[in-house]
Amino acid sequence: MIRFEYDGRAREFSSSTWTWAMRFSLRSLIAWSMLVAAALLAGGGYYGVQKDRQRIKQLESEMEPLANSLLVADSRRHENLRHSLEGYAELQSLKQQAIQHAAAIRDRYSGIEKRGPDAFSIRRIPELRVDRSLDRRVFKLMVPETRQIWLKFAVHPSEARRGNGNKNDQYNDWLRSSPLTDSGPLQFQLPPGEQLLTIQEQQTDGWRAILLKVGEQTLFETRYLQVSTNGFSASISATEQVDVGPTQELPWLLSVEIEANSMNVPFSSDFSYSIWLSDKPSQFETMNGGRDE
């Protein structure tokens, strides 16, 4: 600061300092920029390394349970898993063969013979259950022209069916309200001649849909929110033809005990639905069967 008191030199000195200062500023600016750039580069590198290390930790933590479940640490046990896949491959081939042969068996046992003008004949056609969500029973029927045969559907407490034997027509307290969206009771007069009756239950999104079809015509459809299906029973389980004369009682086909969720009933209880055949009509509504597929 003193040096500014001197003329000439001081100014000269001041000018050189200024120049130097100016030069320093430019240099330092560049230098700082370079330093900052280098620092950013190093910082970025450090951040990247940390990120990569975290990613490695994350990958390792994801791999550990997988590697444990796949027994990677023990080469023999890990190899054994691969061998089990080879064993499964043969099962898949057997499954395909089973599906093909099932069609042949179905064809072999799907014929029905007419046994006299008054005989009603029925046989259950063997059906391979391929889809676990679909439970289907298919019956071949021979309905004589001289007889009226009614297909009936009704819902009842499970106990009522057990105590009732196969005398469904003598039971009168059918339920009109139940966990089923449509409880019936309903009936349908089967047309004469050879008929294919399908009764199926299909599981979709928690609902279990019951469907009755004659040929391709859907007679009736109802469904329930399933909790569990306790038991199935069907009197026509054999694939042999059963003939029923005019004096004999026609068979019941199926009773299914269900436990279902419902807004219609105040408490959870066992319900069953039954499907049977009868010579006599009941005071039931007729299945409209209005839909053709």
Binding site: A38, G45, E60, R77, L85, Y88, A89, Q92, A98
Partner: protein, 314 residues
Amino acid sequence: MSNESTNNVGESDRHAHSSFGMGLTAQRLAVQGVFLLLFFGMILLAWNYSVERRELRVKISSLEQDLTQLQQVREQLDVANQSANEDQQLISNFLRLCRNVTDIPNWHCDRILASANGFENLCLFVPDGQHTLIIHARWTSTDYPDAEQSGREKTWRIPLQPHAGYWVNINTPSEGLPVGWVLSSNHPAFPSQRAVLPLANFSGNGMSQRSTKSIQYPNQIENSFRATQDPDSLLNSVDVFHLALHGEAIHPVAEDDRVMMDGQLEPTEIEFNMRIESDGPPVVAASDADKFYILKSPIQLNYLGKGMYGLERD
């Protein structure tokens, strides 16, 4: 004086200027040194991180690849496990559809397929190889469970034709025939065979059945845990059928070298057990083999292909 002093001042000023300049240079050098140190340090650090990141990225890529592979194997195994169960169920369902020996198809497989159809029938398929059907029947008087049971059991060993379907029917009282069995095959070179038990007037009041696996490798061991604990339990055969009949029958009585059937009706239990004995060592399915490794069994496992291991004792 003033000149001198002026000169002195000028000298000192020059000196000051010069020493200031030297100080400045040193400072500049120091600053430049620090700068260069910092700069190159940073560059070095950045280069080091970059090298490390390259290595880490290689590791990440390798880990990601491993993880993807493991995930694929896990997924494949989960799907395969689930579909294997479903496939087995479907094959069992199919076997139950068969009504007689002509319904048994010509399977292309290396496994024994067996299913009880109803209580009285066994639907059976044996693959290529030598197989023997062993039918063991045992009839006991339940009134005298501790009595001498010798002569009250019989074993039939029937060599089977390879790659053929068989149907065994147990004659039960409901069919009005003496209790026994009938074996038929869809192989043209295999004649039907039958045998009856030496019991008279059997009338049944119940039946019970123990289920067996529908799909088995020839000589597949039944219980891999038991085999690891007791290597002596290894058998060269598989279980295919169990039926117990309960009722009453007249048992034969040996008297003076004659067998008499004039005794009283005795409460009787008849058991039928059927096994298939095959050539080759006992085997375990790969899906059951892990127990041998976990329990460090002394039994040697030799992979035979198609998901099965042959078992050899040390």
